[in-house]
Symmetry: C2
Subunit: 296 residues, 2 copies
């Protein structure tokens, strides 16, 4: 999917909601366990109930592969089902892969080459620790996207993502000039360096956690056109309004993810209806922010 | 597997060889394609031919999941086959996973909980970009191991892994004392910080690439007892002798991986025999280094 196509979906649905399919067989409603593939059945009903309010679906691969072969079957059925629908939506494999070049190539085949793997996603999340080789092989697929972890929403993000190569203040006190590049925190260096690898606004998004809204406005200034995938609204405590105010650009530029808040809204027969209500609720808030920011 | 058990295998086999099962269906000998599961058949014959010289096997998960459900079937059969053998070996899922806590928990189930996934590895490689949450859930499994990416063997390792938070020389010229912690490069911070997460020499190894042998001796000084998983000997250009000299400790402390050099030694009917010869060759060199370093 191209950036323009994604933007069109956002305008049509008046939403920038991504529904995270973190579908855990131990958490889905018990009555589904009698189905042949309970996780797929769960996903299918969630998708049917939420698709009017949703621009993207993001299966979290861990929840599938933890069930081994069966889990991969549920994943394959889920992505095929989404791709078979009349309403086009953006699909993200939340896999956080990253390895040396020849291995990243295999990961790209996993998520982008249905002839090889049976899966056909629009985008995959990638961890940048191993640098350029982790990202480049994904860029070779036309109209596919890499979503690079920059500033994540979790507690552990403070361990390394804020590391700065120098302490400019201390140095500049003594009249030592510090290069702009050297002032950047690790997550900012990840974003800047990716531009040297062939990443651009048509093939690359960045993960910026909703719990880091204090950094979001600054990041938007430096990357005015890229889409950001924003997890952490809801269960993790981020605020949708703050994210929209700090991060939205003229083509929206945001995909805000909600997983648990939607898919586990109820554990009864009505779980899909409740999920639809939660998604509609978020969509209506998002519509407001899209108007405020003149995206609509 | 405990550290002592691994050490016993190393002593018995006089080897610290890890064979990387980067088994690519497009690269295995063509005559195997008539088998029902060509990749498993390939792995089985490689394992049978190399196990006398090998202390660990490391399937590279990308090469399996790129074939979707079928690939996961090959992976499951492979690990079950290894675990069924009389000769015990250490098994590593080279997956480079890493995510927020509730997701990392699922990844731990994937590789450590056979009731959930069908897979039962001794260890899994983990990417540290997202910090503590990426690692902790794996530590809850007794006698299982997390292998944290520290300094990888690839070109992209220079992008971020050497980033230093301060420039001590410049600061100290002006009499500013720099805390020891602040002198550490990113990969050193990853290693040090992991100690705060519950990582120790009985549950944690680190990836240190063979192409970074200039750093290996220093790293060994700071982490005298941990095992290091060392990729990059062979196809990537690292030297076994240099790695052994710089990195070996009194209990060996090294697992040196070779993938392509062994498994693709021949693409004919004799591929397994040739793989066995290559493995034996490496084992004989390793035996020498184990004697020199008085591990044997």
């Amino acid at each position: 999917m191209t950036r323009q196509e994604l933007y069109n979906i956002i305008k049509n649905k008046r939403s920038f909601l991504c529904v995270g399919l973190d579908s855990d067989i131990n958490k889905i409603p018990k009555f589904l366990l009698k189905e042949e593939d309970p996780v797929f059945e769960f996903n299918k009903r969630i998708i049917d109930a939420t698709i009017d309010y949703t621009v993207a679906y993001k299966p979290n691969i861990a929840f599938y592969e933890s069930r081994g072969v069966k889990g991969w079957q549920s994943l394959e059925k889920t992505i095929k089902y989404i791709n078979s629908l009349d309403q086009k939506v953006f699909t993200i494999a939340d896999a956080k892969r990253g390895d040396i070049g020849n291995t990243s190539k295999q990961y790209a085949k996993t998520f982008f080459d249905p002839e090889s793997s049976g899966l056909d996603f629009d985008a995959v999340t990638v961890s940048p620790y191993m640098g350029s080789d982790s990202v480049k092989p994904f860029l070779e697929f036309k109209n596919k996207w890499v979503i690079i972890l920059a500033l994540t929403s979790n507690e552990g993000s403070y361990d390394f993502q804020y590391i700065q190569p120098q302490v400019p203040a201390a140095l500049e006190r003594f009249g030592i000039k510090v290069k702009r590049e050297s002032r950047k925190k690790l997550f900012e260096q990840v974003m800047t360096k990716s531009l040297l690898w062939g990443c651009n606004e048509e093939n690359t998004m960045f993960v910026i956690g909703a719990t880091k809204v204090e950094m979001l406005a600054g990041v938007r200034l430096n990357f005015p056109n890229n889409f950001f995938l924003v997890p952490g609204v809801g269960a993790q405590g981020g605020s949708l309004q703050e994210v929209a105010e700090a991060g939205m650009n003229s083509k929206c530029g945001l995909l805000v993810n909600s997983s648990r808040g939607i898919i586990y809204a109820s554990d009864k027969e009505d779980f899909d209806i409740k999920a639809g209500e939660k998604a509609k609720d978020l969509q209506m808030q998002m519509e407001k922010f899209l108007f405020y920011s003149k995206v609509l």
